[in-house]
C-alpha cells in the first residue's frame, strides 16, 4: 500500500493527465460529473453520486458505428476510427465499479464481443475510492458490494490527510504503467492505516435504511411467478415512462441504432442509449408485445433482478447506487419494487 498527501493530489492529476485522458468527479455549479480533468477543474471526491456514471466512458450516449456514402444505387461503407486512448477513471465508487462488471459481462461475453465497447474498455484503468459517507439512498450492500473496500484495478481511500493506494494486481502491465506514471508521488504505507476507516464505513452502512433489503425471493425458480404477480398492476401506475431511471442507471445498457444524414452526403450509422420504458422500444410492424407501461415497467425490473442474474451467474443487474431513487419524478424506484414483490421479509423496511 502507498499513500500521498491530499494537498499533493493536483500534482498527481497533472502527471496522470500527461499520459492519459483522466476522468474524475468534477463539480460544475451544483452538478457533479465524471469529466475530463484539466488545470481549472474543481475536483470533488467527497460527494457520492455523479449525475452521469462511468458507463458514459465505455458506452457513450452516442457512438458512431460506420458511415456510408450512397451514390446513385451504389453504397460505399467506411469504418469510423477505432477508439484508441488510455482512459483513467479516478474516484469511482464501489457501486459504479460493480456496474462496469455488469456491462463487461454483457458487452465482452457471449457469442459476440462488442468491439466498440472493447476498444474503449481495454486500455482503461479504473481507480476506485471508498465511500466515507454513504448516503441514505445507498443499498449497495444488499448486492454484496463493500464500499469500504471497493474492487477494481487500483483501490484508494481518503483517510486523514492522505489518499491511500492499493494495487490489485501489480504484475499487470496496465497497472505497472500506471504505477510508473505516479510513483514519484507515492510513499509506502501500511494497510493498518486505513483499517479504522474501513470499519467505520461498514458500521455506517449497517445503519442505512435500505442496506438490509432482502433479495432472497429473486431467484430463477420464482421468475415466472414474479412476472405474473398481480402487484405490477398497481406498482407501475404512477410511472410516466420518462426513461430517467434507465438513463441515469450505471448498468442500463440498451441502445438503439440510427442513421444521421450528414450535410456532406454521407450517412452516419450511430448507436445511442435507448430505454425499455419507451413504447416504441419493442414496437414491430404487426404490434407491440409490451403493449402498456405496465409491461415496460415490469421488463426493467425483471431484467435487473431476475433475467440478468439468471444469465450471469447470480450477478444482479442493479448495484444499489440509488440514482433512480433520487431521480424518478414520481418517486418510483427499484426499492419499491423489491419491497413490494420481494415479500414479507421487507415489510418492516
Amino acid at each position: 500500500m502507498y499513500k500521498i498527501l491530499l494537498e499533493d493530489l493536483p500534482k498527481l492529476y497533472a502527471q496522470m493527465a500527461q499520459n492519459a485522458d483522466v476522468y474524475m468527479p468534477l463539480r460544475r455549479g451544483n452538478e457533479l460529473n465524471f469529466e475530463k480533468w484539466n488545470n481549472e477543474a474543481i475536483v470533488d471526491l467527497e460527494s457520492l453520486k455523479t449525475v452521469n456514471t462511468p458507463k458514459d466512458l465505455f458506452l457513450p450516449q452516442i457512438e458512431n458505428l460506420y458511415s456510408s456514402q450512397v451514390v446513385g444505387t451504389k453504397i460505399n461503407i467506411e469504418n469510423v476510427p477505432v477508439f484508441d486512448k488510455t482512459v483513467v477513471l479516478f474516484g469511482v465508487k464501489a457501486c459504479d465499479v460493480r456496474a462496469i462488471e455488469v456491462l463487461d459481462n454483457v458487452y465482452l461475453q457471449g457469442d459476440f464481443v462488442d468491439e466498440f465497447y472493447k476498444a474503449r474498455r481495454e486500455k482503461s484503468i479504473i481507480i476506485s475510492l471508498a465511500c466515507n459517507t454513504p448516503a441514505k439512498t445507498c443499498f449497495c450492500s444488499a448486492f454484496d458490494i463493500d464500499p469500504s473496500s471497493p474492487q477494481s484495478d487500483v483501490r484508494t481511500w481518503i483517510c486523514n490527510e492522505y489518499m491511500y493506494f492499493d494495487f490489485t494486481d501489480e504484475k499487470h502491465e496496465k497497472y505497472e504503467r500506471f504505477y510508473d506514471m505516479i510513483k514519484e508521488f507515492l510513499t509506502e504505507a501500511d494497510e493498518s492505516e486505513v483499517a479504522p476507516l474501513q470499519k467505520e464505513i461498514q458500521e455506517k452502512i449497517n445503519t442505512l435504511p435500505f442496506s438490509g433489503i432482502c433479495l432472497e425471493k429473486f431467484t430463477p425458480e420464482n421468475m415466472l411467478s414474479i412476472f405474473n404477480s398481480s402487484e405490477w398492476e398497481h406498482l407501475y401506475r404512477p410511472c410516466i415512462g420518462c426513461g430517467t431511471c434507465t438513463y441515469s442507471c450505471p448498468t442500463c445498457q440498451c441502445y438503439d441504432i440510427r442513421d444521421h444524414q450528414s450535410k456532406c452526403g454521407g450517412i452516419l450509422k450511430y448507436r445511442c442509449w435507448d430505454s425499455c420504458m419507451y413504447p416504441d422500444f419493442t414496437l414491430m410492424a404487426h404490434g407491440n408485445p409490451r403493449f402498456t407501461q405496465k409491461e415496460r415497467f415490469r421488463q426493467r425490473f425483471m431484467h435487473k433482478l431476475l433475467y440478468h442474474p439468471e444469465k450471469y451467474d447470480g450477478q444482479f443487474g442493479c448495484v444499489g447506487c440509488g440514482r433512480c431513487v433520487n431521480k424518478c419524478p414520481v418517486s418510483l424506484n427499484i426499492l419499491k419494487v423489491i419491497k413490494t414483490i420481494g415479500g414479507d421479509e421487507n415489510d418492516t423496511k
Binding site: 450512397v70 453504397i75 462488442d114 421468475m223 441504432i257 442513421d259 444524414q261 422500444f281 414496437l283 409491461e295
Partner: protein
C-alpha cells in the same frame, strides 16, 4: 461461435434477381460485391438487411445453405424499410450483415427423423431454408409432411415451387389450405390449426412450426392434445431487433436474447420464458 470483429458493420449486398411471390411479398436474391454468397449460414438463421438512411431490419434467410452461390430473402411489405426494398430493382445495392441467431436442428434433432413442417403466411420463408436443405439431403431424413396455409391462394408464397417441386419429392406430402373460399382454389379451405386436426398426424415425427403467434399457439395446443411432446416440437420467436449480437437489449425476453439464443426454440424451453411473444 466468435464472429468477425466488425459484427455490427455490414457489407454491401447486391440484389441480382427479384421474384414476386404475392401482391405484398417479394423474394430477393442477394450476393456480395464480388458476386459471391455473402456468408455461410444454417437454416433458420437470419441476416440484417438495410438501406442507409432508410433503416435496417432482421430477415430470415429463405434459401438453403446447400445453395453456395447466393442467398434469398422473402420479404413482406409492412413498413418503411420493406416498402423501400420492394421498390428496388436487380443491380441495386443494400447492406447486409450476419448470420445471426441459432438454426433449426437439421443436423441433430431432425436428422434421420420423419419431419412435419407447419407454416402460416410469410412464415414459410424460414422453413423453406430447412425444407430445401432436407430435400437436398433427402436420404438423411424420413418422411416429410408440409402443412402450409395462407389467407388466399394469392397469398401462398413459393406456390410454383411447392406445386412443381416439393410435391414431386419422394416420401413427401404437402397439404395446402386457405382461410376463405376462393374461385381460384379447389383445395382445402380453413385455418391451419383446424386442417391440422383434420389430417391427424401420427406422433412419430419431429415438428417445426412457424407462423403468426396466434397460429403457433393453436397448433401447439393441438399437437399436445394429439400426444406430441414439447421436446418434439420446434418453433421460432419474433421480436424487434437492432444489433443482432445480444447487446442492445431490444430482443430480450426472460433470460434469453432472441437474436442469439433464438429465433429457434424447442417448445419445452418456452415454459421458462415469460409469455411476452
Amino acid at each position: 461461435m466468435i464472429q468477425n470483429n466488425d459484427n455490427q458493420i455490414p457489407m454491401v449486398g447486391i440484389i441480382t434477381e427479384i421474384f414476386e411471390e404475392t401482391s405484398d411479398v417479394k423474394t430477393f436474391r442477394v450476393v456480395n460485391s464480388k458476386g459471391d454468397k455473402a456468408f455461410d449460414h444454417m437454416p433458420g438463421q437470419c441476416a440484417m438487411l438495410g438501406v442507409p438512411g432508410v433503416g435496417e431490419a432482421m430477415f430470415s434467410i429463405s434459401s438453403s445453405p446447400t445453395n453456395t452461390k447466393f442467398m434469398e430473402f422473402s420479404i413482406k411489405r409492412v413498413g418503411v424499410l420493406t416498402e423501400y426494398l420492394h421498390k428496388l430493382e436487380p443491380g441495386d445495392q443494400i447492406t447486409i450483415r450476419g448470420p445471426y441467431g441459432n438454426a433449426f436442428p437439421v443436423d441433430t434433432a431432425l436428422k434421420g427423423q420423419n419431419i412435419l413442417f407447419v407454416a402460416g403466411g410469410i412464415a414459410l420463408a424460414p422453413l423453406r431454408s430447412a425444407i430445401r436443405y432436407v430435400f437436398d439431403k433427402r436420404e438423411d431424413y424420413g418422411y416429410v409432411d408440409i402443412l402450409y396455409g395462407a389467407r388466399s391462394p394469392k397469398d401462398l408464397v413459393y406456390r410454383r415451387e411447392i406445386e412443381k417441386s416439393w410435391t414431386e419429392k419422394p416420401n413427401t406430402n404437402v397439404f395446402l389450405t386457405i382461410d376463405r373460399p376462393d374461385e381460384d382454389w379447389d383445395g382445402h379451405i380453413g385455418f391451419v390449426p383446424d386442417y391440422f386436426k383434420k389430417i391427424g398426424f401420427s406422433t412419430d415425427k419431429v415438428v417445426v412450426v412457424c407462423g403468426p403467434p396466434i397460429m403457433i399457439k393453436f397448433v401447439l395446443a393441438i399437437l399436445l392434445e394429439m400426444g406430441f411432446k414439447k421436446e418434439q416440437v420446434f418453433t421460432t420467436l419474433e421480436l424487434r431487433m437492432k444489433c443482432g449480437i445480444g447487446k442492445c437489449g431490444r430482443c430480450n425476453i426472460g433470460p434469453k436474447y432472441v437474436c442469439v439464443d433464438g429465433p429457434v426454440f424447442r417448445v419445452d424451453e418456452l415454459d421458462h420464458i415469460p409469455d411476452e411473444f
